[in-house]
Symmetry: D2
Subunit: 356 residues, 4 copies
């Protein structure tokens, strides 16, 4: 099912080498002024071909808005955004199953009917509609005082030694191609270059944080902020792990270290630390929400790998010659931020009527 959400509803569609891809998002408030230039900038962050770090394929990620926005303001009707597929060279692909890709499982599920040119509906290109929907959500959140930031915590085994302490430090990374502190960015960049030179690829860890989310958002159990957001994050093709707050590191701590002690600040309850990433019992506590995702390395590599040709059920090898990112993490980061924005907005968009 390619529909997500409860308070808001998001549908995505399209294939990598089809006519067009896009999304329909429903449930945004009416009367929101949309900053088209900010939307374009978000799309640009995910778009390939910006520099030597990413794939040479030059996609046109310009979004044409077909409905739901009139004179730059949301109408309350569903918003459809369309992205034409311009520069698709299907000749780059063949029938052999690419290891690490969905070619194999698409074959199992759709029995040869899937359009797998360029990864088809499974392509990372389908994250473009996610970024667009997230950018819309982000503007809606921004107007309610909620700011979202992203950073790269690790690439190719190179971890950023510094963890941002506050919003200002997160903001200081804005606009960087690899938003990491100190020399970490340069070392991550070197790791990507080394992988490319070796005909190989690297993965990494992307982090997003939301400031200004009011307390009391989310539900216990199935509609916890974690459940809702993770269901979207695990939709991103490369993501194989998701953690909130200190995540897996909490497994090594003692309770006295992991608990966030409480105090009173200007009449409000606050916690001194934020090991729980702003969420307790599935519900926000007003502290920053922090989420990290593990991205696996790009499966398409120039190195030869053993695989199978399902056409004649023979074993063979495959060295992917196409235009591929040696590292998707910088381009995945805006997708992760988009998912966090959508997760928060979805949780804020459902609930009982206020007493009158």
């Amino acid at each position: 099912m390619n529909t997500w959400g409860r308070g808001i509803r998001l549908s995505i569609f399209g294939e990598s080498h089809g006519k067009a891809l896009g999304m329909v998002v429903d449930g945004l408030p009416a009367g929101e002024s949309i900053d088209a230039e900010a939307l374009r900038r978000e799309m640009e962050r995910r778009a390939p071909g910006r520099d030597a770090l990413s794939t040479a394929r030059r996609e046109t990620d310009a979004v044409e808005i077909l409905s739901g926005i009139k004179d730059g303001v949301t109408t309350g009707a569903p918003i459809c955004g369309l992205i034409q597929n311009g520069d698709a060279r299907s000749g780059d692909y063949d029938a052999r199953l690419r290891p690490g890709h969905a070619d194999w499982t698409a074959l199992l599920k759709y029995g040869g009917h899937a359009d797998l040119r360029g990864g088809g509906h499974f392509s990372g290109r389908l994250t473009a509609p996610l970024v667009f929907a997230g950018a819309l959500a982000r503007q809606t959140l921004w107007r309610r005082g909620i700011r979202i930031y992203g950073r790269i915590a690790a690439i190719g085994g190179v971890a950023d030694a510094k963890t941002p302490r506050d919003e200002a430090e997160r903001q200081s990374l804005a606009g960087l191609r690899i938003p990491a502190f100190g020399d970490a960015a340069a070392r991550m960049s070197a790791a990507i270059d080394a992988a490319r030179a070796a005909g190989d690829s690297v993965g990494g860890i992307a982090e997003a944080a939301a400031y200004g989310v009011p307390g009391g958002v989310g539900d216990p159990f199935f509609a916890s902020v974690e459940s809702v957001t993770a269901s979207l994050l695990f939709s991103i093709p490369a993501v194989k792990g998701v953690e909130f707050g200190d995540g897996f590191r909490l497994a090594d701590l003692r309770g006295s270290e992991a608990n966030d002690e409480l105090f009173i600040e200007r009449g409000a309850i606050r916690s001194r630390t934020n090991h729980n990433g702003g969420i307790l019992g599935g519900i926000t506590n007003g502290m920053p929400i922090v989420v990290r995702v593990a991205c696996k390395p790009t499966p398409s590599i120039a190195k030869a790998q053993r695989t199978v040709n399902p056409a004649d059920m023979t074993e063979t090898t495959l060295a992917t010659a196409g235009r591929h990112d040696p590292c998707v993490v910088p381009r995945a980061l805006p997708v992760v931020e988009a998912a966090l924005a959508l997760g928060i907005l979805d949780c804020m968009s459902a609930g009982p009527p206020e007493a009158q």
Copy 2:
């Protein structure tokens, strides 16, 4: 929202110190023989008070089935299972917010109306209905050739050095209180004891694996097996991280290391390794599904912690004197297995009609 699922539907209800708690599960096939003794055993695995490792509170986790099962066979109607709350000593709890608990966020969301005695609806006790629903799902899966196993990968900083290579190794851990290999179990047990002695608690990592899941289950994007399962796993109160296959370790690998190469075995496509945990593009490939979750340490500890009393908005301290697990991981493991079973069954229970 306390309802989960698409192909199947699960509702849970109840509070820790209320009359009863339970679940309604809908969408199981009619005509399934239910092994009541196996259900009871699963409930027993999660129940507290079994030994010195867990809380001294003796809950009665006996489930009374009110509907949907007749003469030991599912009828196709929704199954309601009820667990009476017997041994609740509310005197153990007071108004001070327990750091690391949902007391704070429940206050923010429900404005003082939540029943927070014993953690109320946020209590880990609510995982009992999850285990029951999972045990039903498990029997349905078993009949279709799908077996689920659990193990503890780490507790309190003690990691199991061994990773199971095959189903037999996973099966060898069945029935162990701490299902870990070699001396890891004893060392984990010692870590728990040390934490208890210090008035503290420890967290850990639980792992579940499913064998025999056919290829082609799940959907790309929002209903990926990862998305569906993670949304349930993040409903478990202590869980702060979820990873599939090699998860966060994939972030450090190169593509040539992370990709699972393919070959042909007895006429079927298989992969030599399983770094992707049996899922590619959100869809199963027939390899074992592997998922790991990070459990934070039990928030309730005997050590004094700084906190707030919201009744008079004063800062204070709290040392939890109640009966609490110093480590929830052994009891969380059957919950994780239940979530995996429900996630897989849900993905198998939706789809287009077969052509005729």
Copy 3:
């Protein structure tokens, strides 16, 4: 699937002759004082055995609340209400398919595994949980200024000649066993008696109306107030038709007759007539919401009917000797009112966050 709702979630479970039946409702606001006596009165309206008009079976429709309400106030957690099955004489039923009942389709769907004693999960008794959920919703709506009324428009071919002109007229029918104007109630009662005397049954039309619903509730298309409410109304076993406003009579009118002309009353836009039943384009306009449902006559009758015994696939006859209502309309009316309450509350419980 036995789960309904978007803004609120309702699950029902149970079989007519099982241990118990009940419901779980989630999404009601926290902090609502629940009037237990009013709940009891609503349950009593639907309960059988009150007088000679209905079945002689004396069910105990007392609801035990297991969760979600503490000291008479909603906690925000899901509310489970349980109704024990006391007086079930399964001996009254046999294997022959009862014409007009779901016995046949249950056999087709569940292949003999369904518990069909007393109608099983298909029994009209399952409307008791609906009434309970609706009574909860009703109290929540009442606190927001919304009042719901019911009347019987026709029974056994006897139509009430009068259509209520305003709220006071609707209110004047409250508490009547057959809420109809003038001598219509007596004539309807006579039609029921005549049917019973003939070993037969009659159907009828129940109407519910909601006053005080604010304008702007509902969505165009799939979550229209009509769509949401009708999906619940068509869940009621006997209902075969649903119409809003003037409904099917609109098919015979001209546009100039059917349109509701607008004017200004105390600064607000109002319509002079209400042919559209308070809903335009799926969204409320502030006028009373009016809905009518057609109930088919009780399928269980004493007259012999031709049918099939699926045990040996023989044709046979069946004369139902059990305790059955010759007319379900008076007991269906509170179910219809409950469905309308739930439909409105569901539509009011979903939407984007307010701008701040």
Copy 4:
């Protein structure tokens, strides 16, 4: 919310005078050959401007398929169909609220932000995507032996005296502009002409029937075939009533008349009559499914009506001069058939896995 369905998912988007409108449908089986010419014919049935009976506006209802179909075969990925808005003359519309339209409720809900040119997102033009989705569903059903037919039962107070007895009689109406028996079509056409001449409009009753639906489809209660289908039918702008089988006429019958007696035909259980319209307890019984909807007369009429101008909150009058159908029933009929097809397919597309 503009998303519908459980087993399949349908999203629609667009406004009457926006750039384009369309739909995304997800959950159709992969590998279905799509007959593009049959799709085009279905769209043509709903399209305006075909003859003197309907509006003079010439819309281009050609659907461009953007995804999910490759070489005429479904791929399993979501299908997006786009309809460009060509011939929109916004000058025909002004700010005065059109009685009977959603202008008023859109104002209440969206506070002046809705794009109401030509009815905007509330326009009957949004039924074009529904017809397209239904035409896709219909081809999927056809391949599984299910045939859907439509007829007009009444227009402007002229009822068709004949009720079709079998599939052949329903089929005999195919292709007629007003599919009614004998001279009914001519009399209905005259009623439309008379209304147009009077600057007025008429409503009517459309009926759809499905043959070949297997028994056992649907669920009791909330996912009954009636609930699922009605939720979609009540999304159609003009629909104010829905009935299955004999519907409201059942309210006047006795049980002995309304029950469908059973017998055995070629080894299968069948009913002699079909008062219940092929559905008992929400589940199909293998008999034809029959549904009827009441369409209100077109609200846009040339006659002057009293209304309100919300811009200055004054009372005024309005005589709609635009191009409007005096009767939408012939064009609504394919929409009703589409909704029935989607309802059935949705119910067939959810369920537990088969035992193996």
